[in-house]
């Protein structure tokens, strides 16, 4: 009876040690995986914001540059995770998210500014141009009538 008891104590101790050692690793792994998922979602959200700004006519070079930096850090985080470097993965994924801080508001501002620019361009190029064309056509018409009347008056005299 004493031998199984000893075995049970040793097994329990070993289990306790292994659980206490494995727990931080597991926690790190879970944190890293969560940070990577969060960084992916962040990038997708930022990508949508950049596309919206682009469709509003904005030049999004600044935005794509930030997205590329964030994407590169995320790729490195995934590589670190695959190599079981969970701390490195967590740090890189967090950095990736930091790069995109304030991205949505920047994209919104760029989109808004592009819309205003487009409205201004529309006013100048379309409304202004069509109005000026109408003025020229009316002026031509008026000049034509004026000429005709002047010609008729000079013929009558």
């Amino acid at each position: 009876m004493r031998i199984p008891y000893k075995i049970a104590v040793v097994t329990a101790t070993l289990l306790l040690i292994s659980v206490s050692v494995a727990q931080p690793v597991l926690a790190n792994q879970t944190d890293a995986a969560a940070a990577i998922d969060s960084a992916k979602d962040n990038i997708l959200g930022a990508y949508d914001a950049a596309k919206e700004a682009e469709s509003a006519g904005a030049n999004i070079t600044v935005l794509t540059s930030k997205l590329n930096n964030a994407g590169l850090l995320l790729s490195q985080a995934e590589l670190a995770y695959a190599k079981n470097d969970f701390e490195g993965a967590l740090s890189l994924a967090t950095q990736s998210q930091t790069v995109l801080n304030g991205f949505a508001s920047e994209a919104d501002a760029l989109g808004l500014s592009a819309l205003q620019q487009q409205n201004q361009d529309f006013l100048i190029n379309v409304v202004g141009s069509i109005s000026a064309t109408l003025v020229i056509l009316i002026a031509g018409f008026v000049a034509c009538i004026y000429l005709k009347r002047k010609y008729e008056t000079s013929e009558a005299t």
């Binding site: 590329n68 995320l74 141009s129 002026a139 031509g140």
Partner: protein, 203 residues
């Protein structure tokens, strides 16, 4: 000049002026819509030109190339470039069936390119490999240890390459597949573009 002459002159002047003034507005309606949507990817040598691409490698030596990606899809694109390496017996991307290689990527990185823009990336790589020579050259082989890619060590163990009698060397392909994010499926799909480097591992 009679009245008709003046009238004609006035008409021509008015028409020309009206056309000139209306041109900014007309420009908006007369621009042809984009009909071809595509992406392109290419590799350039260390001088940024399509020459001197690395081919004969030395173990541990570092090489530079430029990878270019062009987006003509009509909106900003979210690409993923998968870096893969194969020996001659392993799966390659198929340009006819437009399928990707079945090999897992050694590394993949994302790239965002705005519409009608080009992104150029500098890629630096070096291979660490060992020659295992046999008097019978067909039994000789090269075994790889690591591929250093832009400062990141990528594991190449399990990628031996045998003697290639046709090319008279130990050859392998470092290739880059272009994948694109699909909003509908919420994942990346092969974009049917790849570019590769044919590499000969020298002693």
């Amino acid at each position: 000049m009679n009245l008709q002459g003046y009238k004609a002159l006035l008409l021509v002047v008015t028409a020309v002026l009206a056309l000139l003034v209306a041109s900014p507005a007309l420009e908006r309606f007369l621009v042809y819509p984009q009909t071809e949507f595509f992406s392109a990817m290419w590799l350039l040598g260390p001088e940024g030109q399509a020459e001197n691409l690395p081919s004969n490698l030395k173990s541990g030596a570092s090489y530079n190339v430029y990878l270019g990606i062009e987006n003509q899809l009509g909106s900003c694109a979210y690409y993923s470039v998968q870096v893969k390496f194969r020996n001659l017996t392993q799966s390659a991307p198929d340009p006819f069936n437009r399928t990707a290689s079945s090999l897992p990527p050694l590394y993949s990185f994302t790239s965002f390119v705005a519409d009608k823009e080009t992104l150029t990336l500098t890629l630096t790589f070096s291979f660490d490999y060992t020659y295992i020579l046999n008097p019978n050259s067909s039994l000789s082989k090269v075994t790889f240890d690591d591929l250093m890619f832009n400062g990141l060590p990528l594991n190449l163990r399990g990628y031996p390459t045998a003697w290639d009698a046709e090319r008279n060397g130990f050859t392998g392909n470092l290739f880059f597949e272009l994948w694109i994010y699909n909003d509908t499926t919420g994942g990346f799909q092969y974009h049917q573009r790849y570019t590769s480097l044919q590499l000969n591992m020298t002693v």
